[in-house]
Each structure stands twice: as C-alpha cells, then as structure tokens.
C-alpha cells in the first residue's frame, strides 16, 4: 500500500522559493514520473517526499498519515539514486542486506529476502563481489535490489538511468517497467528525459520552476497540453510555435503544431519553406526548415525522403492537430 498525497508542500532555501507550494495525489500502485528541465525542482520534490530535505511548510501524507516531520527511515520508502550510492566497502550481498540489518531482521529472513531479490534482478552470481567489480547496469540493479528487499510503500527513483549508456538505458527502462508490473508498488520516478516519462509513466507530472504545470496520462499531455511549456516539453522533436497570419486565422496569439503533424509536399501547401538540414534516420526523416514568414521549424516525414539542403518545400499543418495558445501561453482548446 502506498498512496501519497502532497498538500501545499513548500520549500525555500534561504530567500529562494524552490517549491512555492505543490498539491499532488499519487494513487497506490501508480507509476508517476516527475519531469521537467534541470533546476525545475523535481529532485527537490522527491527528496522532500523521501525526507532527505525538510519541508518548509505543508503536509506529506503517506497512506493518510502526515510524515512531513518524520525521519527518512520512518516513512517506509526506498530510494534509488542517480549515482547508485552503493556502499563501496560492502559486498553486493551486504549492500542489499544493509537495510534489513538496520531493521533488526533475523539472519534467515535476510538470507531469504536477499536471495529472492538477487534472483529477480539476475544478481545471484555476483553476491560476493564488491560494487567496484560490477558494470554500470549491474550496479544499478544492486541499488534496485537494495530498495526492493525493504518492501517499501513506494519506490523513489532519482534519475536512475542518467549514468548509463544509451543502449543500456533502454534495457533498464524496460526492466524497471517490468518490475513495476510485477511488484505493483507505487513508484515515483524523476527524470529530465521526456522519452522516459512518456514510455514508463502511468501519470506524468510536468514541473517548471517548482510549480506543477500539468498532471496527466502521457497521451493526455501529448494531445492536450495545458500550456505552451508542456506543449514544448513533451514530444520530441519539439512542437513548432507559429504566430502571425496563421495564428490570426485560428483566432489566437500563437498556434502550436508537432513536427509529425505537418504534411510535406514539393508541389503545394500552406507554408512555403526551404530545407536547411535533413536528418535521415531511415524510418523517418527530420527536416529542419526555414518557413517563409514564420522562421525555423522542424517537421518529421516518415520513411526516406529525397530532400536536402536548399530544397524548396511546402508545409501543411493537420487542421485537427493544431494547438491554440493565448498571449500568456495558456491553451485555448481546439478551434
């Protein structure tokens, strides 16, 4: 069981308001991802939930009990750190067993729990090794093992995959998602990578400057972003924002259109443009273009497209995929 509720959680460092006041509901068993640019306060928010930082004001309810002033260990949460934070002087076995030893579990219980965690994470052959003798992926698995054995109310992940190379990151992403399906424990996952957020989350919390910009399912955020910030942050490559005539036509300050929702033609279309750079990825092609009267845009064409520098093309945004924003950057709803 691990339902977490934040009520007006506030954090200031000196005179700096890092988290001006956050309200958030996390349901039992949910996989929630905090995402935002670096310095947006997502890690601080996680550390407040963990108890590694003290809240300046507000309540943190875990299963209905306010734990805002409790020590980290009393909150029944486990955390996986970006740097793995393994104990370098202990073997893998002792790293995983440390929390259980601190809880005063018997040797038999420790043995059983460590062995079963090691089995889940494919670490059985490495139990007698030191962390320094493991690869990055194995270290991260040990860190996860250390979190699992304590049977926590919720797992907290602080950018756990940032130190891994790209291929391993995809693997570990799948492993963590698989783990969540198996354990069905609440997980809070912090990342700056919107791809991780989109692929793993049940619910995404987009943060900027300590404020929650939007909370929702990945596809909700993709299809109906609440404002320009969320629209620009979720989705890769970034959404294009266009003002001018086109915005007037849709009766708003600015329109937003995702690169994958623009039709590309060499013959006719709404916006004439010149290709600056074409990135050919095989399955798709990203065209970075200069649109006449609108400036730089990015569009995505499927498959191989025989276009290159200086080629003249025409772009046509898909009508029903256009997002409208007012002068404050707030979404206006479909026209």
């Amino acid at each position: 069981m691990g339902a977490i509720r934040l009520e007006k959680v506030k954090k200031t460092f000196g005179t700096l308001d890092v988290i001006p006041g956050v309200d958030l509901d996390i349901n039992d068993g949910e996989f929630v991802v905090f995402v935002g640019p670096s310095g947006c306060g997502k890690s601080t928010l996680l550390r407040l939930i963990a108890g590694l930082e003290d809240v300046t004001d507000g309540k943190i309810l875990i299963n209905g009990t306010d734990v805002a002033t409790e020590a980290p260990a009393k909150r029944g949460l486990s955390m996986v750190f970006q740097s793995y934070a393994l104990y370098p002087h202990m073997t893998v076995y002792n790293n995983i067993a440390f929390g259980l030893k601190m809880a005063g579990e018997s040797k038999e219980v420790i043995e059983e729990k460590v062995q079963s965690a090691a089995k889940i994470l494919n670490l059985t052959d490495y139990l007698e090794r030191r962390p320094s003798a493991l690869s990055g992926g194995q270290r991260q698995r040990v860190a996860i093992g250390r979190a699992i054995v304590r049977n926590p109310a919720a797992f907290l992940f602080d950018e756990p995959l940032s130190n891994l190379d790209a291929a391993l990151r995809v693997n570990m992403r799948l492993e963590i998602t698989g783990l969540h399906q198996e354990l069905k424990t609440t997980m809070i996952y912090v990342t700056h990578d919107q791809v991780e957020a989109m692929t793993m989350a049940d619910k995404i919390v987009v943060l900027q400057a300590g404020r929650v910009e939007q909370v929702g399912k990945p596809m909700e955020l993709y299809n109906s972003p609440a404002n320009k910030f969320v629209a620009g942050f979720i989705g890769s490559p970034k959404m294009n924002f266009l003002g001018g005539e086109l915005a007037k036509k849709y009766d708003c300050h600015e329109i937003g259109i995702r690169p994958e929702h623009v039709a590309v033609s060499t013959e006719n279309g709404e916006i004439p443009a010149t290709v600056k750079i074409a990135e050919h990825l095989g399955a798709e092609t990203y065209l970075h273009v200069e649109a006449d009267g609108y400036g730089p845009m990015t569009v995505r064409a499927t498959g191989e497209v025989p276009l290159g520098e200086h080629d003249k093309i025409f772009l046509t945004p898909e009508q029903d995929r256009i997002h409208r924003f007012d002068a404050h950057g707030l979404a206006l709803g479909k026209s």
Binding site: A73, F81, S83, A85, P88, F98, G99, M102, R150
Partner: protein, 276 residues
C-alpha cells in the same frame, strides 16, 4: 608545449634532491653516530666519522640511570590516548562540517586552525594554574587532555577534507535504509574513510609523541614521556653529548620506524584534497 625531462636536467635534479635529503637527515645520522662514541670522542675536533671505538656503554648507562621503558610507555599512552580521544571529537565535528555545512563553516574551520598559530607559551600560566588547582600536574590524564586539544584543529581539518570527498548520496542511502546517525557514521562513513582516519591518527601520534613544550612544563616524573627523558640529559652537571645522543636515539627510534613504514599513508593524508 611538451615538457620532456632532459638527461642533464634529470641528473641535476636528482643531485639537488639528494643534497637536500642528506642535509635534513644529517643531524639524525650524526646523533646516532655520536651515541656509539665515548664522551671524549664525541667532542673531539676534528670529529671522526667511522674510525672510532664503537661502544654500547652509553646505552647501558642511560638505561641504568633512568628507566627508559617507563618514559617510553608514557609516550605511547599520551600519544595514542590523545589521538583516540581526539578522534571521537574530530570525527563528529568533521561530519557536521562536511555534510551539514552552514555559511560560516569555512570561517569556523579557519578559526580553529588559526589557534594553532598562537604561541603556546601565551597560555602557559593559566593552564599551569588550572592544572595545579585541579590536581592535574604530572598526570597522564591532564596531559592527554592538553595534547588532544592542541591537535584537535588539525584532526578536524584533515578529516573534514577527507569526508568532503565522500559522496553525500551514500550517506543518504544509509539514512533511507534506516540507519540512525551513529550507525550511519560507524557502518558507512568510517569504513569508507579508513585511509583518511589512518593518516590522521598517524600524524597525530607523531605530533603528540614529539610535543615537548607542554610535556616538559606539566610533568616531572609520573607522567613524563621521552621528551622529558631526553631533556634530563642536558643536566646541570654539564653536557654529555654521547649519552644525550644515546637517549635521543632511543627516544626518536620508535616514531622514526613508524613514520618510515607509514610514509605513503602520511603523504597521502597530508596532500589529500590538494591533488585530484
């Protein structure tokens, strides 16, 4: 620019280093040599290097006149005792400064270190009077307290620079794992800081062993360490170079041996944080 050492540069550098090394080592060498001479040869001019009658009679006489082992034992107790007491305070202090710093932590550290620049003689009278009134004169306990307080700033400083290198994440992980503060320090911080603690202990044992001002002023016999043992040979009866040398050799020998075997540790400890 590529900086390659020319053979000539290398040789002249080595020669210079050897000269400096020998200059530093010469007094110790001369002291050891003199301890094997007779009193007459010890003061003869020109001095003889190797060609003299080697004798052990100075050592015999020194041992006969005063109980070397009693002084040595006091030295061990004072050096080790003050270091262990110091460690308890220094570890907790350095932990607080390294992992929970405030705006004034650096200032506090510098201030602590600056007390080492104060001439000890400036506080001799008050400390002497306190020792007299509290019955601490010539007691091991009193001296351990003084030596531990004298060296505490250096211990805190060394441990602080060492602790700074330990990632906070690991301590936070221990906290998440349910370790209380004492357990966090004992099971996680200290094992990771073993090299730093070892070099801190070594340096402090050496500093306490060599400390002469307080040991000479606050002891007479019961708690007197080897420094007092040496000093007793520069007696009113005149200087006996050979016996003084024998006494000094006996006094510095143990610490010299420890220092020799732990060179690497010491250098690493002293330069920690300075080089990455």
């Amino acid at each position: 620019m590529e900086s390659k050492q020319t053979p000539l540069g290398y040789v002249s550098f080595s020669v210079f280093a050897w000269i400096v090394g020998l200059l530093i080592f010469f007094p110790i060498f001369w002291m050891v040599l003199t301890s094997f001479k007779s009193e007459l040869e010890a003061v003869s001019i020109p001095p003889s290097f190797i060609s003299f009658d080697w004798t052990l009679e100075n050592y015999a006489e020194v041992q006969e006149r005063s109980n070397y082992f009693k002084f040595a034992m006091n030295s061990v107790i004072l050096a080790v005792g003050s270091t262990l007491v110091g460690l308890v305070f220094a570890v907790t202090c350095a932990w607080a400064m390294a992992f929970n710093p405030t705006k004034r932590t650096k200032d506090a550290l510098l201030w602590m270190l600056s007390t080492k620049m104060m001439p000890p003689v400036g506080v001799l009278v008050p400390i002497y009077l306190m020792f007299r009134d509290w019955g601490l004169l010539d007691t091991r306990f009193g001296l351990i307290m003084v030596l531990f307080l004298m060296n505490l700033p250096i211990m805190v400083w060394m441990l602080y620079t060492y602790f700074k290198e330990i990632p906070t994440d690991i301590l936070e992980a221990a906290r998440m794992d349910g370790a209380t503060l004492p357990k966090e320090i004992i099971f996680v911080l200290l094992p990771m800081a073993v090299p730093g603690i070892a070099s801190t202990m070594l340096l402090n044992i050496i500093l306490a062993w060599n400390e002469a001002f307080w040991t000479l002023n606050l002891t007479t016999s019961d708690a007197a360490p080897l420094t007092a043992f040496i000093a007793s040979y520069s007696s009113p009866e005149g200087l006996f170079w050979a016996k003084l040398s024998a006494a000094s050799t006996l006094a510095v020998a143990p610490i010299l041996v420890i220092g020799w075997f732990s060179q690497k540790q010491l250098v690493r400890g002293l330069t920690f944080g300075a080089v990455k």
